[in-house]
Amino acid sequence: MWDYTDKVKEHFLNPRNVGSIPDADAVGEVGSLACGDALKLFIKLDETKERIVNATFQTFGCGSAIASSSALTEMIKGKTLDEALAVTNQEIADFLGGLPEEKMHCSVMGQEALELAIVTYRGGPAPTHGHDHLHGEQEGEVVCKCFGLTDGFLRKVIEQNRLHTSEQVTHFTKAGGACGGCIPRIKELIAAVLGEQTAAVPKKQEKLTNLRKMQLIQEVLENEVRPQLWADGGDLELVDIDGPHVQIAFRKACAGCHSSGHTAKFVEQKLRDMVSSDIVVEEVEG
């Protein structure tokens, strides 16, 4: 049984603001029956068309999806559109006293519907959201085909919630949670986002002696990289370290895996982040 907070249970059992607003100013609808959850958010504005006077929802989904929708409507009532746009999925989860990590996608769905409602109300292009098959033409490459999630959407969620593993991305967005085919691509996106973050705030990297660097590389591989590969039935072996060049050989499920190129990139990014930015990872037969 899920460990829901009392506040989640309370909002699930007594959801606020259920229903539609026939003359709503803004409506945001995300998700679908196939996805297993969906939210339709209705927003009514005051005469200045700037402040939210009423917000209601209709939700198909689990207990935490209904609770998150209820929380969202409570949170945005009285806010200006700009203030509402600044609401993050983490704030929705916090309002409820937290959500189990596996259920964080419920809070993301709330934020998605809110953003969609406001941006389309303002006449802007629909944001690159998940669930884009509902909203017609949208920018971006579809990464997760099962749930129809684009790279732009995933990057945003990874960035905002500082996600580090593909498992977290699945918990927050569902991406990779069905067939799992896009997990290598999700790992690439994480590496790319993390890379940008590191580039934006250059980490002060101490000058390492060769011996210390080799030690660190081994530690990162043992503690950070291999456990993740094991989780997917794979493994790697450190073959050689020659200056910044780190040679690895893939084992088990990783050996001969068509996405081992992605995995090598992931290893490289980890080592660059945690050891030294000049590291180059090479895959060798071994």
Binding site: K9, F12, L13, P15, V18, E29, L33, A34, G36, D37, A38, L39, K40, Q58, T59, F60, G61, C62, G63, A65, I66, E102, K103, C146, F147, T170, K174, G177, A178, G233, A253
Partner: protein, 387 residues
């Protein structure tokens, strides 16, 4: 709040008679049955009696019963053993609707160079035996097909399948965890080589199972070490649980007729009343032969976890084929294999009854569930034009 427990395919209450039978073997008679002294010997006698009782329920010879720790261990043992005794055969046949205790083992073996065929099912959850015939070849080491499905209760024609399997010389294993005690089985006249059974599904405690191994079937043990279970399963016997399982099998035999009359009647009444009172509902596997205690019912436009949480508020314990319950994101692999539309796969609920279920409990579900579905449909953005 007194619970209304309708989740007996997940686990069952330990029968009072079973509990009474096992207790002395936790406290006073704690001897090791392998010991030479009288103190262990008296436990050995009781373990033998339990073996006889289990064998009697499934029409087997006591020497064909191997006690294990659970149904999962029995399943793992059977499949791995078959591959070891037939090293030249590299093919396994199973079904898309098996329990993970079988399916995960098989899928894992594909990584080790084994070929695995997963037979599909039709919309009612039934196998196509022609597909089995086509898949079987001289490379097939083992066919593992469950006797009855845990989610839908659909019963497979095990003896027909076994006859086909035997023609090609492969071993035939069945996970009968959900069938034992609910429908009569008779190994004496069966085509089954190996069968898994789990104690806690038939009112014995958790942590005890058996693997039935037909006399003469080639076998390699999964656990090796001591000579227990005639060297077919090493490890000191879980004596109290074995004795409990023996008693549970004896009691299950006594209640078999009740299961197929009174329990079946309650299940059918629940099914009929829910279909009458709740529009846009359908039975998963309704057109197939099913276990007498299982009802899998799908409600369109609502999600299963939300239904379970609201039922739970009323003290009613059921389970769901929905994704959100398990933490996975897709509806159950069984419902997907059956092609249950997404519109209702997420809203599927399983009620599983037992001999302890009462008419009053069924009445409570018939009373409480329709308003719960209504309430969630009022919140849902879907289907309002139809309701």
């Amino acid at each position: 709040m007194k619970e209304i427990y309708l989740d007996n395919n997940a686990t069952t209450r330990v029968d009072d008679a079973v509990f009474e039978e096992m207790c002395p073997y936790l406290r006073e008679f704690y001897g090791n049955p392998s010991s030479m002294h009288f103190f262990g010997g008296q436990v050995q006698k009781k373990v033998d009696e339990a073996r006889d009782r289990v064998a009697a329920l499934i029409g087997a010879d006591p020497s064909e019963i191997i006690f294990t720790a659970c149904g999962t261990e029995s399943d793992n043992t059977a499949i791995r053993s078959a591959l070891e005794v037939f090293p030249e055969r590299r093919h396994i046949i199973t079904t898309r609707v098996e329990h993970p205790a079988v399916l995960t083992v098989c899928r894992g073996l594909t990584m080790k160079g084994r070929r695995v065929t997963e037979l599909g099912v039709d919309g009612a959850g039934r196998l196509d035996l022609e597909e089995l015939k086509k898949a079987l070849d001289d490379d097939t080491a083992i066919v593992s097909v469950m006797w009855a499905n845990n989610e839908t209760g659909v019963v497979f024609p095990i003896e027909e399948i076994g006859a086909i399997v035997k023609e090609r010389g492969a071993l035939f294993h069945t996970d009968a965890v959900q069938a034992v005690g609910k429908i009569p089985l008779n190994m004496a006249s069966s085509t089954v080589d190996m069968l898994s059974l789990s104690g806690h599904k038939l009112h014995a405690p958790k942590g005890i199972g058996i693997l039935y191994l037909r006399k003469g079937t080639p076998f390699r043990p999964f656990l090796v070490g001591g000579h227990q279970e005639r060297s077919r399963r090493a490890g000191t016997e879980n004596t109290a649980a074995i004795i409990a399982l023996g008693k549970a099998c004896q009691v299950a035999g006594d209640w078999m007729a009740d299961e197929n009359t009174r329990v079946l009647g309650m299940r059918d009444r629940l099914e009929k009343e829910l279909l009458t009172r709740i529009p846009h509902a359908r039975i998963n596997g309704g057109a197939a032969e099913r276990l007498p205690n299982t009802l899998s019912i799908a409600f369109e436009f609502v999600e299963g976890e939300a239904i379970l949480l609201l039922l739970s508020e009323k003290g009613i314990c059921a389970s769901s084929g929905s994704a959100c319950t398990s933490g996975s994101l897709e509806p159950s692999h069984v419902l997907r294999a059956m092609g249950v539309p997404f519109t209702c796969a997420h809203g599927s609920i399983r009620f599983s009854l037992s001999r302890f279920t009462t008419d009053a409990e069924i009445d409570a579900v018939i009373r409480e569930l329709p308003p719960i579905i209504n309430r969630l449909r009022e919140i849902s953005p879907f289907g309002r034009e139809l309701l």
